[in-house]
């Protein structure tokens, strides 16, 4: 427990998984965990509503990184969920007593150390428990999106682990079974990249990948620009919030994947990947431009022009399509 090292990360699940893998002996950066698990994506699920707004995600669904790292690293992850909160708590205690670090899925709303304005009912936040304070009984948590380790009282943690609703964690805890092995980078890196290319360019359903970005563009274009625009602006703000808050700062996931490509270029001795990283950074900057344009309209600094925002999204779709095509060629 005492030898656990907290590390600040940009996304919770990749942060937790890279911390776990590192703790169990294989140095693995956060971008490497993200890229190897093929976690970059884009999804638009208008029929799933969060607070009345359609789900939009700039990455693969929760648990994709936990699952996705198993094969490349030859690592078996054990996952357990519980119907009864008391049993879930007892099991966590048991694992901590055995000296393990344990990944937990939680609801942001019930974690008291989150700033008030950030506490929404988002149920797929990942943290790592690495011990317990003997005096207060507080759990010692490594929440990767915070700079420093955190603490949480048992009652609050139980509530966060057993929150209900969309993506309910059901007390999910996870830990590795055995040790991760250093993989053959020349094999696992191209395989992981190919999977991401496939998801972005060739998913059969148009709600995943670059086509989904175009769909969002269409949805934005249809928003009423005149009259009461409150609802329209909430929708636009929601698109940005999903990149910002749950999405690590504007083009965050794009920047992180670019960092993965840069590292992958060295590990797999494929310099062409580093050139692609530079392109992806520009795409990330494009997402930030969209976020900035949207925020200015929300604040009323610019007039609300759905067509202008839709045009920015279409450009992102086109850029990402060209990028993933080029990335595939760079692997050949």
């Amino acid at each position: 427990m005492s030898d656990f090292q907290h590390q600040h990360a940009s996304h919770c699940e990749s942060g937790v998984m890279s911390a776990i893998v590192r703790h169990y002996g294989l140095p693995l950066s956060e971008p490497m965990a993200f890229g190897l698990a093929s976690a970059l994506s884009f999804a638009w699920l208008p029929f799933v509503k969060l607070g009345g707004l359609p789900l939009v995600a700039y990455r693969m669904p929760p648990r994709a990184i936990i699952r996705g790292l198993q094969k490349p690293l030859g690592l078996r992850m054990r996952t357990e969920t519980f119907r009864d909160p008391a049993r879930g708590e007892a099991r966590l205690q048991e694992l901590l007593d055995a000296g393990r670090v344990v990944g937990l899925q939680t609801s942001v709303f019930w974690l008291p150390y989150f700033p008030q304005d950030m506490r929404f009912h988002f149920n797929a936040h990942n943290v790592l428990a690495y011990g317990r304070d003997a005096d207060s009984g507080d759990y010692l948590l490594s929440d990767p999106v915070f700079e420093e380790p955190m603490r949480c009282a048992p009652a609050d943690l139980a509530r966060a682990r057993f929150a209900r609703g969309v993506l309910a964690p059901k007390g999910l805890l996870y830990y590795p079974d055995g040790q991760p092995a250093e993989p053959d980078w020349n094999k696992v890196i191209p395989a992981a990249i190919r999977k991401t290319v496939r998801v972005m360019l060739r998913t059969p359903v148009p709600i995943v990948g670059t086509r989904a970005i175009e769909r969002v563009a269409r949805a934005v274009e249809r928003l009423p620009a005149a009259g009461d625009t409150r609802q329209s602006l909430l929708f636009v703000g929601h698109l940005v919030r999903m990149q910002e808050e749950i999405g690590t700062g504007g083009g965050g996931f794009r920047f992180m994947y670019a960092s993965f490509l840069e590292e992958a270029a060295t590990l797999a001795s494929r310099p062409a990947l580093a050139e692609q990283a530079a392109r992806l950074v520009e795409i990330g900057d494009g997402w930030r431009e969209f976020a900035l344009a949207a925020a200015r309209m929300i604040r009323g600094r610019d007039a609300f022009e759905p067509a202008a925002l839709a045009a920015l999204l279409r450009r992102q779709a086109a850029d990402e399509r060209a990028f993933f095509g080029a990335l595939e060629k760079a692997l050949a």
Partner: protein, 134 residues
């Protein structure tokens, strides 16, 4: 994004915390940088929070006028809507909606009140009252 362009303007909604972002450093390589926030982020987070605050304030006015139950006010205060409250309590949504009516809410059984109170993280006495007029 280059490291010198990483916004450090601060973001009140982060409560003094910093987030990590990957940016290009002086050596030309991407690495995580702690950043204090971006105004854009603050704008969209505040927008969402203010919308929920507005819904809670509207509900409070209606509770005082006798046309909504305290449950509606507390639901929005807990940043929920009827769908989420239904999922959290395990009740049908039509039932939750019905309980937003004051005359129905007044007749709720202690069991149901306890269920709502637990879902919202409140005591039953808090659930059945609203803050006094300022």
């Amino acid at each position: 994004m280059d490291i010198e362009n990483v916004p450090q303007e601060g973001n009140a909604t982060l409560g003094g915390h910093r987030k990590a972002m990957y940016a290009r450093g002086a050596d030309g390589r991407l690495a995580p940088v702690a950043y204090a926030g971006w105004e854009v982020e603050e704008i969209v987070t505040r927008q969402a929070v203010e919308e929920l605050d507005r819904l809670a304030a509207d509900a409070l006015t209606r509770v005082r006028a006798g046309s909504a139950s305290p449950l509606e006010y507390h639901m929005y205060r807990a940043r929920m809507d009827d769908t989420l409250l239904a999922q959290t309590t395990g009740l049908w949504r039509w039932r939750v909606r019905r309980h937003l009516r004051p005359e129905v809410f007044r007749r709720l059984s202690p069991t149901l009140l306890a269920r709502y109170a637990a879902a919202l993280g409140l005591g039953v006495d808090q659930l059945t009252t609203v803050p006094p007029q300022a």
